[in-house]
């Protein structure tokens, strides 16, 4: 015992356990996100229950089991529910029952001992809809213009065909509304600003105004044509409907235009489920969100994140690389470099929210406000750049990630042997030429590493973005077909903020939770992939220069 204590072995074991715990936490966390995030798209079986309610009535409940937990039986009896059980613990299920327009909420919890019967019906159908969330029930009829066109067994196939047809019309309508009409509205707004600009400069001569008016008229007539086209599409869209019966036997008629997807999970084969799973996964990354971001995809958030990160990268790279070159190649090591290093460390250590505050005050209100005064007076008092937007978010994050690029580039520069610089200088190259022709090409992998790490950091940062440009639902993407194509003044969506917003600000957190896990998984995967790439490049670089040193 004495010897064991003296050897320090218990301490060594404790230190080893710390590493084990850290590793378990990292892996566990990643697994948790992966399981919850990926599980969301798997078509869950729909269960039918007969359930004894507190007023001694038996009700039928159908839905997916979302969650189950054990709670003390006594606690339930205390809350006034009659429960005849000898068990100390009972299981409580959280059932997603859908049909929000009928029940008011999507979920209900039921207690295991009060379930009198449970079954699964292969005909149970799940409808994903544009509004009111999921619908659970059994398909009875398909109607077109109020006339029944299919009933009974073949109605399922007919329904699928109808859904495909209406989805196409829906897509056309979406294209017209968002694309062409959106573009016309945008052009009309630009014309209005142009006119206002002319008035402000006192150049509003009748011919100029006439030109604008003429253009506006032509746009208006185009708009009318599109409007008529839309109207015909809409009548076409609203023709078909379906009749379904809920578990309680209530008959409900639902317009097929409201249906996104219909499937019967209980009857699916394993391959059917895999196909469905992949389809849902694709929909998740490529579609727009629905129902206040709690359903559908996250494409605009991915797009916004990527745009922001690209613009940020364009700004941060030159600044970071130049600063690193100054520190390593030009500056005399002394107080100045020491101060710069302290500054770099502080830039890295300053809380990100402080960057947000600075960005909002300095970039948005100060710079943006002045830009508006100088260049966009016609839009005032509505701000153009004097409001949070893509450009300010990118600049703010560029400032935040500069230290990452500096540190990484410096490390790359320090690994280049002196002999290479001396060789170049000896051959008569100037310092700038040496830098440009030999040093920077050789450092490029290190610069790349820094850039990737900066991108990874920026992609995961949320706090400053909340102040300088991110919103929960952007009406338009920052890149589109309207001049000037890239709209730096627009607000945008962001994956990290999407997680915060949907997970914490959404009215229906329970329904949105799986989607948040999926978004989190996507973000984690992107960031881990970026980091692993950076680590791999760095390691290769080290190996390469090890051989150079001899």
């Amino acid at each position: 015992m004495q010897k064991w204590l003296k050897s320090g072995s218990p301490w060594v074991w404790l230190t080893a356990a710390s590493v084990s715990i850290s590793i378990i936490m990292v892996i566990g966390l990643l697994l948790l996100i992966a399981v919850r995030g990926l599980g969301h798209f798997w078509p869950a079986d729909v269960h039918n229950f007969e359930y004894l309610e507190s007023n001694d009535q038996v009700v039928k409940v159908a839905g997916e089991i979302r969650n189950s937990e054990r709670i003390a039986a006594q606690q339930i009896i205390d809350s006034g529910i009659q429960l005849e059980t000898t068990e100390q613990w009972v299981t409580r299920y959280l059932i997603k029952t859908g049909n929000r327009e009928l029940y008011g909420i999507d979920f209900r919890s039921i207690l295991d001992p009060l379930i009198s019967k449970r079954s699964q019906d292969t005909a149970m159908m799940v409808l994903e809809r544009h509004e009111w969330g999921n619908f659970y029930g059994i398909l009875k009829q398909v109607k077109v213009d109020g006339k029944v066109i299919a009933e009974g067994d073949n109605s399922w196939a007919v329904l699928q065909k109808q859904i495909t047809a209406t989805s196409e019309i829906y897509a056309t309508i979406h294209d017209i509304e968002q694309g062409e009409i959106g573009s016309i509205n945008y052009t009309i707004e630009r014309l209005r600003l142009k006119q206002r600009g002319l008035e402000l400069r006192g150049k509003d001569s009748p011919e100029e105004l006439g030109k604008i008016e003429e253009e506006r008229q032509s746009l208006q007539s185009q708009y009318k044509v599109l409007q008529d086209e839309l109207k015909s599409h809409y009548t076409e869209l609203n023709r078909a409907s379906l009749v379904a019966e809920t578990i309680e036997g209530k008959s409900v008629e639902i317009a097929i235009s409201k249906v996104v997807l219909a499937y019967q999970p209980n009857g699916m084969t394993i391959f059917g489920k895999i196909g469905f799973y992949l389809h849902k996964l694709w929909e998740f990354v490529s579609d727009d969100p629905r129902e206040a971001n709690t359903e559908g995809g996250i494409f605009p958030a991915i797009f916004g994140t990527v745009m922001m990160v690209i613009i940020m990268a364009i700004m941060v790279t030159p600044f970071g690389v130049i600063a690193a070159i100054y520190l390593r190649e030009y500056a005399k090591q002394g107080p100045v470099t020491r101060i710069i290093r302290i500054a770099v460390n502080n830039l890295a250590g300053v809380p990100s929210i402080v960057y947000g505050v600075f960005g909002l005050g300095f970039f948005v209100y100060f710079l943006g406000g002045n830009i508006d005064q100088l260049f966009f007076p016609e839009a005032l008092p509505a701000p153009t750049f004097g409001t949070p937007g893509l450009m300010w978010a990118s600049i703010t994050l560029a400032l935040l990630t500069v230290p990452v690029v500096i540190v990484s580039t410096e490390e790359g520069l320090s690994r280049i042997p002196k002999s290479i610089r001396e060789g170049s200088l000896a051959l008569g190259a100037t310092k700038a030429e040496t830098l440009w022709r030999t040093i920077i090409p050789m450092t490029s992998p290190a610069i790349m590493t820094g850039l990737i790490l900066a991108v990874a950091r920026a992609a995961g940062e949320v706090a400053p973005l909340m102040l300088v440009g991110v919103i929960k639902l952007a009406p338009a993407l920052p890149l589109d077909g309207d001049f000037p194509y890239l709209h730096l003044d627009r607000k945008f969506m962001h994956l990290g903020f999407h997680i915060y917003d949907v997970g914490f600000q959404s009215p229906n957190v329970e329904a949105a939770r799986p989607l948040v896990y999926a978004t989190a998984l996507l973000l984690v995967l992107i960031i881990i992939a970026l980091n692993l790439t950076a680590i791999a490049i760095r390691n290769r670089l080290r190996e390469k220069y090890k051989s150079l040193e001899h």
């Binding site: 084990s20 937990e69 947000g356 505050v357 100037t430 830098l435 949320v462 915060y500």
Partner: protein, 750 residues
Amino acid sequence: MASALPPIDSPASRHHRKMRRLKDQLAKYMIAFGGLGVIAAVALIFIYLLYVVFPLFLSGSIEIEARYPTPAHSNSQTLLLAMEEQTEIAVRFDDTGKSTFFNTHDGSVIETVELALPPGAKITSFAAATPHTRIAAYGLNDGSAVVVRHNYKVSYPDDIRTIIPFIDYPMGEDPIIIDERGRPLIRLAIQDGEEMSMIVAMTDDGELLVNSGEKEVSFIDDAISAETETFSIASDLGNYSYLLLSKEMDIVYLANSKGDISVYDVTDAEYSEQIEALNLKADIVSLEFLTGDISLLVGNSKGNISQWFPVRDDNGTPRLTKIREFSLDTNAITGIATEHSRKGFLAIDEKGQVGIFHTTAEKTILREKLMDVAAKTVAIAPRSNAAMIEDQQGNLAFISLHNEHPEVSWTSLWGEVWYESYPEPDYIWQSSSASNDFEAKFSLIPISFGTIKAAFYAMLFAVPLAIFGAIYTAYFMTPKMRSVVKPTIEIMEALPTVILGFLAGLWLAPMLETNLPAILAMILLLPLSVIAASYIWHCMPAYIRNTVSDGWLAGLLIPLVILVVWVSFSLNYPLEALLFGGNTQQWLDTELGVSFDQRNSLVVGIAMGFAVIPTIFSITEDAIFGVPKHLTNGSLALGATTWQTLTRVVILTASPGIFTAVMIGFGRAVGETMIVLMATGNTPVMDFSIFQGMRTLSANIAVEMPESEVDSTHYRVLFLAALVLFMFTFFFNTIAEVVRQRLRKKYGSL
């Protein structure tokens, strides 16, 4: 090939060389510029934050814009001076029943209105309601009162603002009869609200009468009709010279110059009663409500103005209590004017001095002598940007006030402040509310406390794990395993905090709530089982022990840790039933008196600890790994065990590095936003309990910044919070960096 080059001294060649030299110089300057840009960026952040915060600490100032004789002042005394929003027009009510509108900048009379008084009636008293209602009332000698309002019509013909003043009668032109018996009303008070109005009057024989009217809006034509009733509260009162009615129309204050104050509750005709009678132990020469009508401002003849408001005593009865006192000079206070939407006020005295004060901030903003004779009446503009003072000789001074942020002082930010309606001085952060006369509470103490608390619990979780882990990784672990473990922990650092926060809030917090006993068991069982395992291992025969070296221990322990965690969780329900009566939260509440908040410091500590572990880990690991090998070898050669070498040589040598790591980790925990935002309830409480939440500086900024008005006090205080965070982390990071630079120098010599 050589022929392609021009001769060395040809003009082309010379030009080429010149260009190259130029480019080289240019590159040099540009790069230096870029390098120094980093310093510029840090300086810019600091300076800009300072620039926004700075106006908070500017003292106020006043400027006399104009002096002119009081308009229409012959043979009359001023009863009330008031200004409209734009401070272009002012009005003067006098004791002859005239109201005069005049231009504030030159005193020229715009319009004089003779008020509609019944013929033969004499004015015996006057009262003004809360300033923003612009209502005043005259009490007459026949027991009736006339209610008037100075009103303004603003229009923009040809884009030029035009203001037309007029007088109207919100309760009708006919006098309102207060006393059926027709006694003169010698004191008067009035308030007019959206649902009711009230006039309180005292007759010449000391009866206190209340006339209250419930307003009813007709559905047909939006006309307002009032149903009035009059009741008597007290009679045979002595000589009270001040009568005040709060704007909620529930409390009446009566006061005389000897300092006696009598308080009545007038909410209900049947239950009106005297609540309190006291003597202030000082004379009263001036008495006004502070905005909000909760506090009284009492001016005395010694030049002091004290603030009083009711505070509930131990029995729950409200007692008028002296909260704080301001001093103008040593002369009698002749008038007090309170700001319309802030808790500040102006006071004047009989030597012509004026002072600007703010109650919450306990701040005397300025004291200045404006005139050589006694000042008599003072009025403040609705936006607190101008004031008007009349002196005894009938001259008016129109002054502009520059006093943007009176709410902020060292005490209001960092000290205990006794806020209105609070039982005692306290630290409170409550920045905004719907009501206009809300007392903003800008104490940074609760949120700074929350920041430290969150960081403390995070460090409590992270420091042992990270430092122990780093010691093992750097000192014992095999290189092969190290090459896997280090990147894994580095990846941990890259995880976005929004994901950690989301998991903490939506997964960890509910999980901890139901599994609290399991967590307790885990904290106890994990170290014990590891030590027990170590002992069992020690007792094993040597051939088994030698199969696995210390370097692989961390891998070996993973199954053990998982097992212990699993055991703890399966013990959760039995433990809860055994120790805590089946419900831990309830047990905590009843047995220990600790209330349990689902999103508490434990959750934040774990989640934020998770975020700072990698930072501390990797710096510590580098420091320990960087300890020169000859030091450890020397120690081992002298016969020390590996553990002795570690504790006496390695850790001591690496201690500055470990210190740096902890500093940087602490800096990160202090500034972290998303985790605390999502994993706590964000309530700014001052409670160190681990089962309670908190609000931190960073989360506070994230929550309130988007809705704060640009350049308002709130906006600047939030910038101040950011500046505090900046300086805090700047301090820690600079220390860490200086230590690190020293360390590098030291190791360089070893």
